[in-house]
Structures are given as structure tokens and as C-alpha cells.
């Protein structure tokens, strides 16, 4: 295990220490060591925007704490949901009197911990509403969409929900915007190598060289099949063939595309894939309104990629384009030169 760590059981603690030191003025620690917040939070008059999830997905989740982004994040062990207590404390941290939008991914642990945390927050008189991301198409058939996992589409859900809240939206409005974002978003991943949780010390699944796991999840959850490794342009086709019919996306649609590496895939390759995706979308008459290419939601040192497509209308465009400042996604308000 070729790692830059101290005690493998303390990677989350050590990472959080470094993260807080690295982003003064943007990130602040809180009373709960497993909760970080935006230095400016809670922001008077603003709906609090919160998420939480296991570690090992950088920039997710704490990398999206910031200006016009998330107010507080509950932090779990590597690939493990944060505790109910952490979610509860994150709610309290972000709450400025107008309620809290908890925008998180559909995993058994997260569902349970958020459920318990909401109960606790209710006792405090904090209104919490949730949006559960389920953009990962291969994880369940469309008829069971509520079973699908949340993957890189969460980044767009956060961006949109947080921008709505930053613009003065009510709790219902922020939640509605985030829900609309995720309802219009579909994703799919391809895994090329496994990854190793530091505390475990060896990969807990394998992908043979020359193979790829189509539809893999963000923690190595099983895909829909193992296939021989294909050229980037066939991978793009394969993913769009699953993603596009599911919403469905149709000719004339405008979309945001997010190509996120899983961690160890060189960024060069993400652009190669994007080139293929852009061509195919063009051929389908679908217009890319705005692409994001980079490591937005990773799985430690897995090689591979997640492709995410979100259909946008004027409202979603406006919210995606809003200025944002955080470790994972800093952008100026859209103008000619972006």
C-alpha cells in the first residue's frame, strides 16, 4: 500500500486537520471534530445547506463547503456514512433560523443516519428537509429509481441547491431546486482498477488488467457487467447508451456534462473521454451548455470515470452558472470568457 499517511486508522482525523489548516477563511472546524463548516456559516437569513458522506471521495464532500456552496458537512470514516450525531451537529451548525436542506446520496447508512439525525433536529426545533441523490442509472432499473445510488451528480445537486439558498430561496425552494437538479441528472461509472481503504490495507475487490467494470459504484459496488477494456470512444458510447434513454434526453435538449475521474486516472484521459462524449451528444442533437471535467467525486485511487449528464432549463442554467468558491469548484459568474 503506497500511501502518504500516518496511522491508517487515523487518516480521516489527519486529513481533516490538514484541510482546516489549508483553508483558513473558507473552512472552519466546529465543536464536533467530524463536522466542518463554511467560515461564514451560519449565514443570517439563509437556508442552511448540508451534506455528509464517507471520506475518500475528495473533493466530495468537504471540498464543496464554501461561498454559495455547502454550509456544513458531516464527515464519515473512509467509505462509511457519518454518524447520526455528525449529521445532527451539521444541521445545528448550518441552521440560521430558516431551516436546513440536507442534500445527500442514497446509501443505506446515510439514509439511516440522516433519519435519526432529523429526529434529533426536530427535537431542537430545526426544520430539516432532504433531497436524496439517485443519479447512478446502472444501480437499479428505472422502475426502482428510489433504489439507485447517488454518485457524481451530487455535485450538481449541491451546486444548484446551494445557489438557490444563497439567492435567498426558502427551504422549500432550495429543496425543490436541488430535487429538480437530481431528477434531471443521470450518471454512470466505469471502473478500471480497484482501491484500497488504508485501514484495511488491501483492495476489497479486483478488476483484471484488460477488463473494465461497467456501471461500478463509488465504493466498488458491482457494476452491470465486466467487459474487455474498450477504446475511450466506445466507453463514451456505452455510457451514453445507458444514460440518454433513461431520462430520456432528446434532440434539442441542453445539458450540463460532468466527467469526473475516480481518482487515479490521469486528467488527460478525462479530456479524451469528454471529446468522445461531446461528439456523440452533438450527433444526438443534444447541446452541451456547460461541461465540467476533472476529479470532482473520486474513490480513493480507483482508476475510472463517472459520466454525469443533467438536462437544464433557464432556472438550472442560472443556478449552475452562479459564482462559487470552494476547494472543489471555484468559478466566476458565467460571462463571455468562461
Amino acid at each position: 500500500m503506497q500511501r502518504i499517511i500516518n496511522d491508517p486508522n487515523e487518516v480521516v482525523e489527519d486529513m481533516l486537520k490538514g484541510f482546516v489548516l489549508a483553508h483558513p477563511g473558507l473552512i472552519a472546524a466546529t465543536g464536533n471534530p467530524r463536522v466542518l463548516k463554511y467560515a461564514g456559516a451560519p449565514i443570517a437569513g439563509k437556508v442552511g445547506v448540508v451534506t455528509g458522506g464517507g471520506s475518500g471521495h475528495k473533493p466530495a464532500f468537504i471540498g464543496y463547503i464554501g461561498r454559495n456552496m455547502l454550509d456544513a458537512v458531516a464527515v464519515g470514516e473512509v467509505f462509511t456514512s457519518p454518524s447520526a450525531q455528525a449529521f445532527h451537529d451539521a444541521f445545528k451548525t448550518a441552521h440560521a433560523g430558516r431551516g436546513v436542506a440536507c442534500l445527500y446520496g442514497n446509501y443505506a447508512g446515510d439514509n439511516m443516519n440522516v433519519k435519526m439525525a432529523r429526529r434529533l433536529a426536530e427535537d431542537d426545533g430545526i426544520e430539516v428537509k432532504t433531497v436524496v441523490a439517485n443519479d447512478d442509472v446502472p444501480s437499479a432499473p428505472k422502475s426502482e429509481r428510489e433504489k439507485r445510488r447517488g454518485v457524481a451528480g451530487e455535485v450538481l445537486m449541491w451546486k444548484v441547491g446551494a445557489a438557490r439558498a444563497a439567492r435567498g430561496g426558502s427551504l422549500d425552494e432550495a429543496v425543490a431546486a436541488a430535487q429538480k437538479a437530481i431528477d434531471n441528472t443521470r450518471s454512470m461509472g466505469i471502473g478500471l482498477t480497484p482501491c484500497t481503504i488504508p485501514a484495511v490495507g488491501k483492495p476489497n475487490f479486483t478488476i483484471e488488467p484488460g477488463k473494465m467494470e461497467v456501471g461500478i459504484g463509488h465504493h466498488g459496488e458491482p457494476g452491470i457487467r465486466v467487459d474487455t477494456l474498450r477504446p475511450a470512444r466506445e466507453m463514451a458510447e456505452m455510457m451514453l447508451d445507458v444514460i440518454l434513454p433513461d431520462l430520456p434526453f432528446s434532440s434539442g435538449d441542453e445539458v450540463v456534462v460532468l466527467v469526473s475521474g475516480l481518482g487515479a486516472t490521469p486528467v488527460m484521459e478525462l479530456y479524451i473521454l469528454y471529446g468522445a462524449v461531446a461528439n456523440l451528444l452533438h450527433e444526438s442533437g443534444i447541446k452541451v451548455y456547460r461541461p465540467y471535467i476533472g476529479n470532482y467525486f473520486t474513490s480513493l485511487e480507483m482508476m475510472g470515470v463517472t459520466l454525469t449528464v443533467m438536462k437544464v432549463d433557464d432556472e438550472l442554467k442560472e443556478l449552475v452558472d452562479a459564482e462559487a468558491e470552494c476547494m472543489g469548484l471555484t468559478q466566476f459568474a458565467r460571462r463571455a470568457t468562461t
Partner: protein, 216 residues
């Protein structure tokens, strides 16, 4: 042999569960590693060890120990195990809380209430290859023994056997929830990690309580 024990004497039961988890952490991780992500022992022993520190600083009775354990698991563990075991022990504690003496009937209510809470939170059913398989088999065995007139000690012995059987039953199941579900058919042949830890915990409780019952 007594047929009940005092709540105030029962903290040792919790300490023994902690020791059991600490001792078996490696084994639990190995089982989880065979078909899951290999961290079950790490997750569990982390929570149970923190609980030990709390209890040493702040001793109490059986219900109090269970409450601390449940709270710590809920606060510190996260994942699915934190809320599931957290809920389980908080439920045991809630039912035991206002009882001075823990009788056979009381312990049965504790078990039933705990296992129902786990199932309603986690939505796992018997046969899904989870801790629920252990729990349901153990509670069933306890209930049957009690219904046929067994005393507390005998009912606990039945529970331990039921737990072991429930755990063993997971060996030939295919995982339907949790990380092991990745493997589908390949998850057959290895018992479930949560089912194993649950059996260890219930066996430990049965043993500890029987020791208390044997005391003059």
C-alpha cells in the same frame, strides 16, 4: 441459580461484550474482508472501545451501560452498523431502564423490542444475510424456550444456540444488502460479518447473565 438479576449489578454484561468485540476484531474484519470491505472489526472495536472509556469514567447499571453503548455507537460509528447496533442497544436500555430487576419476561421484551427496531430501521429481512438472521433466530429461540416454561438461564442458553444457528444460516445465503451483495453468488460459503458479531454479542450476554444468576 436465581431467575432474575438486579439492573444495578448488570454493568459487567456490557463490559464483557466490549471485551468480546475487542478480542474478535481481527476475525470480524477477516470475515468482512472475504465478502465485504474488511472493516467490520475495525468499526465495531472502535465504538466499543470508546464506550469502555466512557463507562470506566462513569460507571452505572445494566440499562445505563447499554444506553452509553447505544449512544456511542450512534455518535461515533456511522455507516449502517452505527445506527443499527446503536438503535438495538438503546432499545434494550429503554426497556430495561425503569426496571429494578431484570426478569425473564423483561429480557424477552428487551430482545423483541431491540430486534424490531433494527428491522424497522434497516429494512433487512431474514435471509438477506445480515445481523438480522442472527437476531431473529436468537429471539425466536428465547421466546420458544420461555413459552415452554424454561427459566431465564435456560432461555438464555436457548438464545445463544439460536444466535449461533442464525449466524451459521448466513453461510449459505447470498447477500442481498450491504457491501457483500457485490459478490452475488460468490458471497455464499462465508458467514456474514454482522451476523457473526451479533452472535458473539448475544452469546456474551447469555454467558455474563448466567454468571450473575449463579452468584449468591
Amino acid at each position: 441459580m436465581k431467575d432474575s438479576f438486579e439492573n444495578q449489578d448488570g454493568e459487567s454484561i456490557v463490559f464483557n461484550m466490549i471485551e468480546t468485540i475487542q478480542k474478535n476484531a481481527k476475525v470480524l474484519s477477516e470475515i468482512d474482508g472475504a465478502i465485504g470491505d474488511g472493516d467490520h472489526g475495525i468499526n465495531m472495536s472502535k465504538g466499543f472501545t470508546i464506550c469502555k472509556q466512557r463507562l470506566e469514567a462513569n460507571p452505572g447499571d445494566f440499562a445505563g451501560g447499554l444506553r452509553t453503548l447505544g449512544r456511542v455507537l450512534m455518535a461515533e460509528i456511522g455507516g449502517a452498523m452505527g445506527p443499527l447496533y446503536g438503535t438495538f442497544f438503546l432499545e434494550l436500555s429503554r426497556v430495561a431502564g425503569n426496571q429494578q430487576t431484570i426478569t425473564r419476561e423483561c429480557f424477552q421484551r428487551m430482545l423483541e423490542s431491540g430486534s424490531e427496531a433494527v428491522m424497522s430501521l434497516g429494512n433487512a429481512k431474514v435471509g438477506d444475510k445480515t445481523m438480522v438472521d442472527t437476531l431473529v433466530s436468537a429471539v425466536e429461540a428465547y421466546r420458544k424456550a420461555a413459552a415452554s416454561g424454561a427459566d431465564l438461564a435456560a432461555a438464555l442458553a436457548a438464545m445463544a444456540t439460536g444466535a449461533a444457528e442464525g449466524k451459521e444460516s448466513t453461510r449459505n445465503l447470498v447477500a442481498k444488502v450491504g457491501r457483500a451483495s457485490r459478490l452475488g453468488e460468490r458471497s455464499r460459503g462465508i458467514p456474514d460479518a454482522g451476523a457473526t458479531s451479533c452472535a458473539l454479542l448475544l452469546e456474551s450476554m447469555a454467558r455474563s447473565i448466567r454468571v450473575l444468576l449463579a452468584k449468591e
